[in-house]
């Protein structure tokens, strides 16, 4: 075993995996809800970026880690209102509006970074971690998996909440109906537009939370383009997981591990070109797509605006 694979290295690798996975989990769960309700939210990346900046700014202003997370979620939801207005209400093309949101958010966040932080490059204090009693004593796994900021556990808990909502409540039935057969939902007396709007805003909030987690807890800094395609990976995860929130978690952990490995391997100074190592997560996406993608079945009304009386 080469010397770099020692205990601290492996623990750091796992810690990194969780930290990289969490934004994907949050955003992926949000996207899953939006897609379930029939709205393809391509603007996820942009909402993450807006959330990252908002979270960073709020924490830097002294609102703390939780304040930063809250700000990220609110701003993410606010950005998703664009999607609600143009796509859900006006029936415009979801792909085009989504791309516009991502491009716009990239521009605005870069501009703000330039105005606010480009001279000082502020850095947040590391978010306080809590070690789960008992579990954190296990060698390697303890510090790697069970010593994290509580927001991390909250994120994993959301997946369980979503799973419950989908299976056990009328909200779950309404969301699925809005994505599969909106006319049937409308005929049953439920407002399709409102159902979809809620789903899109939840997706925005979740993406914003994911972005804020990245900036506030993950890295402690904000730089332009810092989401680096995580939003798109989250979209892929949501599509592959279909209606199962726990699959989003599993997929996100896999990609998180690959992302973490890229960093770890570079730091560890392994004799492989950096460019190749950085390809890892995306190769993993492709491999998963090839393996599981062919079975992906998307909601029938995904991407189709709903107008009463049209089919």
């Amino acid at each position: 075993m080469p010397p770099i694979f020692n205990e601290p290295f492996l623990a750091a690798l796992l810690t990194g995996a969780i930290i990289s996975a969490l934004p994907l989990i949050l955003a992926g769960l949000g996207e899953q809800m939006s897609e379930r309700a029939g709205v393809m939210n391509i603007g996820l990346e942009g909402m993450m970026m807006a959330g990252a900046l908002a979270g960073f700014a709020a924490t830097l202003a002294g609102l703390g880690v939780w304040g930063g997370m809250l700000a990220g979620g609110l701003v993410g939801a606010a950005v998703s209102v664009i999607m609600v207005l143009f796509c859900v209400r006006q029936g415009m093309n979801q792909i085009i509006v989504g791309i516009a949101i991502t491009l716009g958010a990239t521009g605005v966040t870069s501009l703000m970074h330039n105005a606010w932080y480009s001279r000082t490059y502020p850095r947040l204090d590391a978010a306080e971690k809590i070690a789960l009693p008992g579990l954190s004593q296990i060698p390697v796994l303890g510090p790697g998996l069970f010593t994290h900021h509580p927001a991390t556990w909250a994120g994993l808990f959301v997946a369980l909440v979503f799973a419950f909502v989908y299976r056990q409540t009328f909200l779950g039935l309404n969301l699925a109906s809005a994505g599969e057969k909106p006319d049937a939902l409308d005929a049953a007396g439920i407002d399709v537009t409102r159902t979809r709007s809620v789903a899109v805003m939840v997706a925005g909030a979740m993406a914003g939370l994911g972005g804020a987690y990245m900036a506030v807890i993950g890295s402690g800094i904000f730089v332009p383009h810092m989401t680096g395609g995580a939003g798109y990976i989250a979209i892929v995860l949501a599509m592959l997981a279909r209606d199962r929130p726990l699959w989003v978690v599993g997929g996100a952990l896999l990609f998180g591990f690959c992302l973490s490995a890229t960093t770890a391997l570079q730091v560890g100074g392994i004799e492989v070109p950096t460019d190749f190592i950085q390809m890892l997560p995306f190769l993993a996406v492709m491999a998963v797509l090839v393996l599981f993608g062919r079975n992906a079945r998307l909601p029938r009304a995904l991407g189709q605006p709903y107008h009463r009386g049209q089919r």
């Binding site: 056990q168 009328f170 039935l173 699925a176 057969k181």
Partner: protein, 520 residues
């Protein structure tokens, strides 16, 4: 039946206007409990508007709807349901990924947890009462269309419905599904539920209806009461209904079925000769083998057979859409591997049954669709540049000649009714100088008036000297129009019959004979 029961729901002088049209003009109808009231009308006769008023989607401009004799303003679909009026539309309205029980529960407040147990039990009870066996925990997408319809009927009556409105209920059903629907309606009648059975099929109205009413041009033009209907011989009832539907334009039921075949003297010029043709559709996988026949100038050669026995790939091969081995000779010229455009130019035309798919581009205007098979060709294109004026002039002429009912030649084809799309398709395929035309199920999905118009068009073009191949699964149509009839079974042309009094028997024997031999 006991003496004069009072109607569950009555329409009294109901009028509904839309910009430029009167959809319903002072319609008065009574719907009685325990009775199937067949409402018959062509496309555009005002049936859909009537349904949407009963279902609470639209409100009448004048007149009133009375439930149990008292006038009510039906405000919403929910209100209609609570009044006991349930509607089942032509298109399924169930969420395919949910179970039957979940679909029935849809519409409760979002925070509540679905109580599946009670719904299951109630569904089983209702299903038993109507003689239906559908598992409430089955996913809707795994049910047949007929079963889905049964679920929708149960849902329509879920809150104690007393009047069931069925919009074209047989349109998407298999023959077995139609039979089951009939049995289900029988049980519902016995439970005192009134049924409004909306259709444009005359035979269905007479098969299922206890009472028949006819809508024409938004008006209720009359009907046959139950007493009369049971007393009247079927042929007379049919003649009466046809008279009501079409006024005096069509004199008899036979005319509605396409008219009788009249033997004709034909020249002996072989316009199309097919020898040993075999091919396979890469899309559907169905194939045909070793098909040989010829069609003389002005002759109508019918091809009968149950759907899916290789007729479609044969037609596609003749049109040049799929590759085939064997020989096709058009007016003395071997076509070989000639493609669609060349065959079209040489005079071999194909009117597909897939009008909205491969026949037309729905988003493009009528004018462009009229020249769809001549894209890039003079005079409509010159050196790659489209010549609008030439296309429009050409399209306008065809538009008028084929009596297409549309706002203008720039209307997207997708907005037209099925009958008008068919007119545009035929206009395109018959323009210029066709020598041979292949029709695939030309009247499929059309209403009676358009069926009649299409058949007349087929006859006229044949009389003008066009050799015609008529592929149809409607044996009555083939017998009414063809001079000779070929029968296709499992991709093979198993026999050719001269049309005449014995033809129906002979064709039936050919269709069945092979099946028996294959079964043995």
């Amino acid at each position: 039946m006991t003496a004069a029961p009072s109607p569950v729901v009555s329409l009294r002088e109901v009028t509904k206007r839309f910009p430029g049209v009167i959809a319903n003009d002072r319609v008065s109808l009574d719907f009685f409990p325990g009775e199937v009231h067949a409402l018959l009308g062509e496309n555009g006769a005002g049936k859909s508007t009537l349904i949407s008023m009963l279902a609470g989607v639209q409100r009448p401009d004048e007149g009133e709807i009375a439930v149990d004799g008292a006038a009510v303003a039906i405000a919403s679909p929910r209100h209609a349901l609570s009044l006991g009026i349930g509607t089942v539309y032509q298109h399924r309205m169930l969420v395919p990924t949910l179970t039957v029980a979940e679909n029935l529960m849809l519409g409760a407040p979002w925070w509540r947890r679905p109580a599946l147990g009670g719904v299951r039990a109630r569904f089983r009870e209702a299903a038993a009462a109507f003689g239906v066996s559908v598992d409430p925990d089955a996913r809707v997408e795994n049910l047949s269309l007929g079963e889905q319809q049964q679920v929708e009927i149960i849902r329509a009556l879920w809150r104690g419905g007393r009047l069931l409105v069925l919009d074209e209920p047989t349109a998407m059903l298999s023959p077995k599904g139609v039979e089951e629907l009939g049995a289900m309606m029988g049980r519902m009648k016995a439970l005192g539920i009134g049924i409004v059975f909306i259709t444009h099929h005359l035979t269905e109205a007479l098969d299922f209806g206890d009472r028949v009413s006819v809508l024409r041009g938004g008006r209720s033009v009359g009907g046959i009461a139950p007493e009369t209907l049971t007393a009247l011989p079927r042929a007379d009832a049919m003649a009466e209904v046809v008279r009501l539907m079409f006024g005096t334009g069509l004199a008899s039921a036979e005319a509605a079925e396409g008219g009788a075949h009249v033997p004709r003297a034909l020249p002996n010029t072989k316009m199309l000769e097919v020898v040993g043709l075999s091919g396979r559709s890469p899309r559907s996988g169905s194939s045909f083998e070793d098909v040989s026949f010829h069609v003389r100038k002005g002759e109508i050669f019918g091809i009968a057979g149950v759907d899916g026995n290789g007729q479609t790939p044969l037609a596609e091969a003749l049109a040049g859409q799929i590759a085939a081995t064997g020989s096709v000779v058009l007016d003395g010229r071997e076509l070989g591997p000639a493609n669609v455009a060349l065959r079209y130019q040489l005079g071999l035309r194909y009117a597909t049954d897939d009008r909205n798919g491969e026949g037309m581009v729905g988003k493009l205007p009528i004018s462009t669709n009229m020249v769809l098979k001549e894209i890039g060709a003079a005079p409509f294109w010159r050196r790659g540049i489209e010549r609008r004026a030439a296309i429009d002039a050409h399209a306008s002429a065809l538009f008028a000649a084929h009596d297409v009912r549309a706002p203008g030649i720039h209307t997207p084809v997708g907005r037209l009714s099925g009958g008008n799309i068919q007119k545009v398709l035929l206009a395109r395929e018959l323009s210029g100088s066709p020598k041979v035309i292949v029709y695939s199920k030309p009247t499929h999905g059309l209403d009676l008036r358009n069926i009649e118009a299409t058949r007349r068009r087929i006859r006229e073009t044949a009389e003008a000297g066009v050799a015609t191949v008529l592929i149809s699964t409607d044996l009555g149509e083939v017998l009414a129009l063809s001079d000779r009839i070929g029968v296709m079974v499992r991709g093979r042309l198993v026999g050719i019959v001269e049309n005449g009094p014995e033809a129906r028997l002979e064709v039936g024997r050919l269709m069945a004979g092979i099946t028996e031999r294959e079964a043995a």
